[in-house]
């Protein structure tokens, strides 16, 4: 075991491309954690989607041993945290598992949005923060200006920022020394106390089963222990404990202040909830760690295979994904327009996109995605209440007493230059202002917002109106009644169930118009004109007409072109598979999700 005084637990906060992965690689390399011959780029990033999107979905951890200049050898535990508002809760748990952060900023670029959101999470977790200016060797680097910006925008001291070039290795020893001298050791930890450990994250390994990342607060965790998850109630026998270096390395035990993994023959990731408290079954700790929230899906949409023959493969793929993702749910759904598919639940839109990408890429299934929706509470006149997951199931309005929708408390931090745009956006989305305060040049706006106005593109809009300088977090605050109606979309006079949606009555005309205009752009012209209408019940509230195609003919076609023309036709045959037929009209599959994106 290691004394608390010689442990430092930290995370790295950085914007995409500002050098988080390279810095982590250098720290690992310089301390000899990985043999030189095993060194490869971006040791911590696992999935392709994580690398491409520059987001981390699962937490990763690595243990580094560092002989410091004071003569002691320190154990440094780095947690690489997820970094998106959909996973805000997971990020906050990862941050709670460590005591400090390195704030890495590209000295040629300056502070960016993602940095801001995560650094505030770090501040809320009471972290000590060491600013690190990377890429100081670039000609465009302006370390002094960027340090000033960190002080202005984030409000933390940055005059003693560490100057580095993760690429060349410049300044890496100073970073290691700063971790030891400027970040605190774990605040408390009693080896003799009952086991109290935080479940930081878990992942499914096809060979080992579920691997759980834990941070020990009090007590000791060993192989053979019988443990209990305090929230979910499950009990397990620990087969193995260890640390990541970054390869999994078995250890005799994990003591207070340490971060490592446990393997206890847990079958599904679903049984391990992020933020849960792990204790011994025999001698449990008195209270779980505060702040646990069950992770429940809040956004729903239909996913349908483009090719009906893929349905069974799709179900297998979703079962596999769900094993590794407690917050992803699905059940079978049938649509008149789209055939057999699944109604799926997600933490947010990014989560939805990640799952959809993985189904398409890793399992090679082409998908149609329908409008995202939230869960409405439908109170019937007979006194019963039903949960509505899918607007297509909206009952006869005559039987309904009232409809309630989920609301959230949204907290938005933004440089005050952009505040006006943010307030307007919240107002447009039916928000009620709860609080507005200023800290330096930053404003904090707190709004009560309907979740259905947020799930789709709120975050994208927020990023766009604030040039990326806003950070956003939310929590559910309950259900409230409002005048909500089901809006149907008719294409060429045929209702398209996959496009129907719930909207507030006062916003129905506006949304209907926007949808019709968008569909007019998304549906290609046909050889006849196509009316596109939005309706509530039998009443049309918006209408557009897609005019008929006027010209589509190859100008030149002689003897040598017959073969080429034939190939074009083969391509069209393939393209037709990506369309859905509604009566005489073909709708491209991407229209089902793009139709909902609002520009204003």
């Amino acid at each position: 075991m290691t004394e608390l005084a010689h442990i430092r637990n930290f995370s790295i906060v950085a914007h995409i491309d500002h050098g988080k992965s390279t810095l982590a690689d250098r720290l690992i390399q310089l301390t000899g954690t990985v043999a030189e011959r095993d060194m490869k780029e971006q040791l911590l990033d696992a999935m392709d989607i994580e690398r491409e999107r520059g987001i981390t979905i699962k937490a990763n951890t690595v243990r580094i041993e560092y002989p410091a200049r004071d003569g002691h050898t320190y154990v440094l535990n780095l947690i690489d945290t997820p970094g998106h508002v959909d996973f805000a809760y997971e990020v906050s748990r990862s941050m709670r598992a460590v005591e400090g952060s390195l704030l890495v900023v590209d000295a040629s670029q300056g502070v960016e949005a993602q940095t801001l959101a995560n650094v505030y999470t770090a501040i809320e977790a009471d972290h000590e923060i060491v600013p690190v200016l990377n890429k100081v060797d670039l000609p465009a680097a302006e370390p002094d200006r960027v340090a000033e910006q960190i002080e202005d925008v984030i409000g933390i001291e940055a005059h003693d920022a560490v100057h580095i070039s993760a690429k060349t290795g410049l300044g890496i020893p100073e970073v290691l020394e700063a971790i030891v001298t400027r970040l605190p050791p774990p605040h408390s930890g009693d080896r003799a106390a009952p086991l109290k450990a935080m479940l930081v994250d878990s992942k499914y390994d096809a060979y080992l089963g579920v691997i759980v990342i834990v941070r020990i607060i009090d007590g000791v965790l060993k192989k053979g222990d019988r443990i209990r998850m305090m929230k979910t109630g499950g009990t397990y026998d620990v087969d193995d404990v260890g640390v990541y270096r970054p390869a999994m390395t078995a250890a005799a035990e994990l003591g207070p202040g340490e971060i490592g993994y446990l393997n206890a023959s847990i079958k599904q990731v679903r049984d391990t909830r992020v933020g849960d408290t792990i204790t011994h079954e025999k001698r449990p700790c008195d209270a779980p760690l505060p702040g646990f929230k069950p992770s429940i899906p809040v956004v729903f949409c239909g996913l349908f295979p483009v090719d009906a023959n893929d349905f069974n493969d799709m179900r297998d793929a979703m079962e596999k994904l769900a094993l590794n993702d407690a917050s992803f749910t699905f059940e079978m759904e049938t649509s008149a327009a789209l055939g057999f598919g699944f109604r799926c639940g997600f933490l947010g839109l990014l989560h939805l996109e990640v799952i959809r990408d993985r189904l398409e890429r890793e399992y090679d299934i082409d998908l149609i995605t329908t409008a995202p929706s939230v869960i409405y509470h439908i109170h019937q006149r007979d006194g019963t209440m039903t949960e509505l997951h899918n607007p297509a199931d909206f009952p006869d309005p005559g039987t309904i007493d009232r409809v309630e929708e989920p609301r959230i408390k949204a907290t938005i931090l933004v440089p005050d230059d952009y505040l006006g745009d943010v307030l307007k956006l919240c107002q447009d989305r039916r928000g009620i202002q709860m609080d507005l305060t200023y800290a330096g040049s930053r404003a904090m706006a707190v709004y009560d917002l309907p979740l259905n106005e947020v799930v789709f593109d709120f975050y994208d809009r927020l990023k766009s109106v604030t040039k990326g300088y806003a950070s956003f977090d939310y929590q559910m605050i309950g259900y409230r009644e409002d005048t909500l109606v089901k809006m149907s979309i008719l294409v060429n006079d045929e209702p398209v169930d996959a496009l129907s949606m719930m909207v507030h009555r006062d916003r129905a005309e506006m949304r209907g118009r926007a949808m019709c205009e968008k569909l007019k752009e998304l549906i290609p012209r046909h050889m006849f004109k196509i009316p596109i209408q939005a309706a509530i019940g039998g009443r049309v509230i918006a209408r557009e007409t897609l005019s008929a195609m006027r010209k589509d003919v190859t100008a030149k076609c002689y003897g040598g072109d017959a073969t080429r023309k034939k190939k074009l036709l083969e391509k069209q045959k393939a393209g037709k598979k990506k369309m859905r037929q509604f009566g005489k009209v073909e709708i491209p599959q991407e229209a089902f999700i793009n139709a909902l994106k609002m520009d204003g």
Binding site: M527, R550, K551, A555, G560, T563, Q572
Partner: protein, 372 residues
């Protein structure tokens, strides 16, 4: 005797036009004697495989065939005439650029047997000619055209329309001038931007501003149909207009499912033998083709078309011409005929399927309905 058409590809140009995606190359010098020998050798090879046919037409395409020496053209025509029999009304067309240098060779072509020229005038506006990368001016083109009309019985010329910033009024005026030149045949092509061309690259980089959108292109199409009909040169194919009787018989062979032999780099052919239609395609790189001919091996690939492929091709090509396709001649039942007829896009005249006036500018979309 069975009729066949002969296509001869000359792959060289003085400059590559930015819109062109044909098999054409700019080289400093061409050994015309070597090419003459190669064409002669190919004609011999084909005539031994396909002996008993009558040549209905020859077409020299390119590239720029008016860069061929008259002797080279004469050698091909003589070779063909020795190898096969010529029809009494044989049509021998040569594509020509309208410059004074080329006009100087017209007499020689005439003597070699060419009886029709198709001139790449492309525009009657000097600014647009420059933008299209053409090396001639309007006045030079008109002078060359006059020489051609004096020299050959039949003259056609090409114009490219739906150009950048071309207004309907400007095209109307330009087409009126073109019709006043009294050719008996016009090929009027809407500018198409192809991948892999200089224009294609420019468009991909966000250039080529002012190209017409679909509605503008359709307006220009309508003007073209109305003016040519009024002038007595209605369209007989998508882009080809002629005084009745002056249609290009060679090109009609392609569109009506006739057999044709293709000679030269990248040339395609369709030859029916024992009831099966075969597609031939020659090597497209000029020197590779030349060496293959000299080595007498690997000049082309030949593949039989399945009855379905042959039928689809017949429909694809056949619906380009106003006469349409006799469905009894193809082993294929097109789909959606009733819907398309209801929407007024096609006409069924007994067994003959043809496009309506409304359907003509929508051929690709209609083919998709019929065949996909």
């Amino acid at each position: 005797m069975r009729r066949i058409a002969l296509y001869v590809h000359w792959p060289f140009c003085q400059a590559k036009c930015p819109y062109c995606d044909f098999n054409s190359h700019v080289v400093r010098q061409v050994d015309q004697a070597a090419w003459r020998d190669a064409y002669a050798s190919e004609i011999k090879r084909y005539s031994s495989n396909i002996p008993e046919v009558e040549v209905g037409s020859i077409f020299f395409g390119g590239g720029t065939p008016s860069l061929m020496e008259a002797e080279t053209v004469a050698s091909v025509i003589d070779g063909a005439q020795r190898a096969w029999r010529f029809a009494n009304d044989v049509e021998i067309t040569l594509e020509a650029n309208p410059t004074s240098v080329e006009a100087g060779r017209f007499r020689g072509y005439r003597a070699a047997g060419v009886n029709r020229v198709s001139m790449g005038i492309q525009a009657l506006d000097d600014g647009d000619l420059a933008r299209l990368g053409r090396l001639h001016s309007v006045s030079e083109a008109r002078a060359a055209f006059d020489v051609a009309q004096e020299t050959f019985g039949r003259v056609s010329f090409d114009l490219i329309y739906a150009r950048q910033d071309q207004s309907p009024a400007a095209w109307e005026a330009e087409l009126t001038r073109a019709l006043g030149m009294a050719a008996d045949h016009l090929s009027l092509y809407q500018l198409t931007i192809e991948d892999g061309t200089a224009f294609g690259d420019r468009l991909a980089r966000g250039g080529l501003a002012g190209l017409p959108d679909e509605d503008r292109a359709a307006d220009l199409w309508d003007i073209t149909q109305n003016l040519t009909e009024a002038a007595g040169l209605p369209a007989y194919e998508v882009s080809n207009h002629a005084r009745p009787g002056a249609e290009s018989r060679h090109n009609l062979t392609y569109w009506t499912g006739g057999d044709y032999i293709g000679i030269g780099p990248g040339a395609h052919g369709r030859v029916t033998q024992d009831g099966t239609r075969h597609a031939t395609e020659a090597l497209s790189a000029p020197l590779a083709w030349l060496f293959a001919v000299q080595r007498r091996t690997g000049v082309e690939t030949t593949a039989p078309l399945t009855p379905r492929d042959a039928a689809e091709e017949r429909l694809m090509m056949g619906l380009r011409v106003h006469a349409g396709v006799d469905l009894r001649q193809i082993d294929y039942r097109p789909r959606n005929l009733d819907v398309l007829q209801e929407d007024g896009l096609i006409e069924l005249d007994g067994p003959v399927l043809r496009l309506s006036r409304k359907g003509r500018p929508l051929l690709n979309a209609i083919l998709r309905e019929l065949m996909v």
